[in-house]
Amino acid sequence: MLHLKRTVPLAIAFLSGILLLIQYFVPHPWSAKFLQYTSDWQVTLAYAALLLGVGSLVQSHVTKARRKAPGWGFSAVALAAFGITVAMGMWWSVHTAWQSRTDASIVTTGSGEGSPLSWVYNSLLFPMGGAMFSILGFFIASAAFRAFRVKSPEATLLLLSAIVVMLGQVPLGAHLPGIPQLSAWLLSVPTTAAKRAIGFGVALGSIATALRVIFGIERAYLGGE
């Protein structure tokens, strides 16, 4: 049993890792086909895992609603929304399948233009997502307020830099001598240098982690040490 839980996954990780590493250096069409094949596998597995996700979602909300746990009303709404959305998709599939019997131009689908699912997406999901995103503006202001409080020489430097960059981004800044140039310099020189330094660390860390996974040194993702 332990053999199946540890050795087999480690062997699969090693083999897949080595093959995909070699694939990066091989431009031959067979190599590209192999990459496409593994990508297709990944997509297939992801869709199979979606069932797992849906199962978890339904189970956790049903349990909450059944136990009348605090905030169970939200679970009830989530379950109702889930059920209605699935029903809408299925109904539209049946509807288009029925219509396609007489009109060959109609494709059987659960979504698409004019479908209830597209209405759910355009009229509910999209605006709600937009509303969440719009809060970001206020959160940036509050986070900036905290970050720019002058508590130390570094914070003072941060505040001054922020003022220059902010002025450089607005029409008023264009009329202040030197501000657009200083703002552009701050963005393109010190900021880029810091970003690249972090980028080097990230790249090296990624390679080291990938090698650790390939050679079975890093096993935590399998639930081991």
Partner: protein, 399 residues
């Protein structure tokens, strides 16, 4: 005016007296097939820049010598040199004396592994005359190796070799110094605080799937956190963005509870799937934060625009917040909103740091050696570039 007319006449006369030298068709190196380079030496009339401006090249290709030649490129003699394509021709100064045009093999179909013959002709045109080359031929074939990526291979092999050496050394000597990472030291404190307050811990794995290195790193951290959570008998919540990440998180946590000797305390529903919609996920997690009021929030993995929405909401609940991400654009938001932030590579180091395993710590030191190598390369490259020596820069360039 007289000077221009003189150059014009001289170019026409010079062109009439010349012929193409060394026209060749070469297979494009390191490609999937179907492409070739047509190269030829610059005509003597191009030695003068004004003269070069008055010459236009026309390149035509066909699939056999007697077939219909189709025009594929037309450009002035001041453009398209071998030296513009260091990936294919290297960085020798001689490449500046040659023109080079990349052409598609006639009849090539994308994804085909067959060889395709390419026949090419070049015509040099000026206002008053034209000279045509003979026909050159070559084969466009798919290649098995990319020479231009050789430097990447060498770097990975070197880093891998150094890593193995340091791991072997770490096995013999487990006394390895690793600098303190305050964010990771604070994890213990955060879990202790949650235990004292009787409130749960919220752990997020980021918004990428399991194929992302940062997600692998975050699940490794989750394993270590789960062990401590089991020891302290605290509650942990792991809302997931991806179902595969959820399954891995459940397994990692289960093993963490088992290794802490408390398998009975593990609750499989601690890690649960929320949604794969970015802002739907944010809304759900923010809702959990506001209802459950966690004592500690861990944001590990890769984040996008939602980072600040999560961290600011977590901040309003009074939770101690520790973030770790390799998303450079989101780091400032986490730094502004969280108590501790693991910057980039510290996220990958977290698992080794928390587990204190000599083998893992050995691989951490290899990363530092890699950084030293990069630093040395930057200094050497900068110094050489100041003296117009570009060889080293080309050696480390990626294509």
């Amino acid at each position: 005016m007289i000077r221009v007319a003189a150059i014009f006449l001289l170019t026409a006369a010079a062109l009439r007296a010349q012929s193409f030298e060394k026209l060749e068709v070469l297979d494009a190196p390191g490609d999937a097939g179907g492409a070739a380079w047509v190269i030829w030496k610059r005509l003597p009339a191009e030695s003068d820049e004004e003269g070069a401006k008055r010459i236009t090249y026309v390149v035509s290709v066909a699939k056999d010598a007697t077939g219909d030649f189709e025009e594929v490129a037309r450009f002035p003699a001041t453009a398209k040199f071998m030296s513009d394509n260091t990936e294919a021709f290297g960085w020798s100064k001689k490449t500046a004396d040659w023109h080079a045009v990349k052409v598609d093999a006639p009849g090539y179909e994308d994804g085909s592994a067959a060889n395709f013959p390419v026949y090419a002709k070049v015509v040099a045109l000026s206002a008053e005359s034209e000279i045509a080359s003979g026909t050159a031929s070559g084969i466009a074939r798919p290649n098995w190796l990319t020479a231009s990526k050789f430097n990447v291979f060498v770097f990975i092999a070197l880093l891998g070799g150094v890593m193995m050496f340091l791991i072997a050394r770490a096995r013999r000597n487990s006394e390895i110094f690793v600098r303190r990472i305050p964010g990771l030291d604070a994890m213990e404190e955060a879990i202790g605080r949650a235990t004292e307050m009787g409130k749960p811990i919220l752990f997020l794995n980021g918004l990428n799937d399991m194929s992302s290195i940062s997600t692998i790193a975050s699940t490794a951290i989750l394993g270590q956190v789960a062990k401590r959570v089991a020891t302290y008998d605290t509650q942990i919540l792991v809302p997931c963005f991806d179902p595969v990440v959820m399954a891995v998180s459940q397994e990692v946590m289960r093993e963490g509870f088992i290794s802490a000797g408390r398998p009975d305390s593990y609750r499989p529903d601690s890690a649960f799937f929320v949604t794969s919609d970015q802002f739907g996920y944010v809304a759900a997690v923010d809702g959990i934060m506001m209802r459950e009021k966690p004592a500690a929030c861990f944001y590990m993995g890769y984040y996008y625009a939602e980072s600040l929405l999560l961290a600011e909401t977590g901040g309003t609940t009074g939770a101690i917040q520790i973030a770790g991400t390799d998303s450079v654009t989101q780091l400032p938001f986490f730094i502004a909103s969280c108590d501790y932030t693991l910057l980039g590579e510290e996220l990958y180091a977290a698992s080794a740091y928390l587990s204190r395993e000599p083998i893992q710590l050995g691989s951490l030191i290899a990363q530092d050696w890699g950084k030293l190598f990069v630093l040395a390369a930057i200094v050497i490259g900068t110094v050489l570039a100041l003296f117009h020596v570009q060889t080293f820069v080309h050696m480390v360039a990626t294509y």
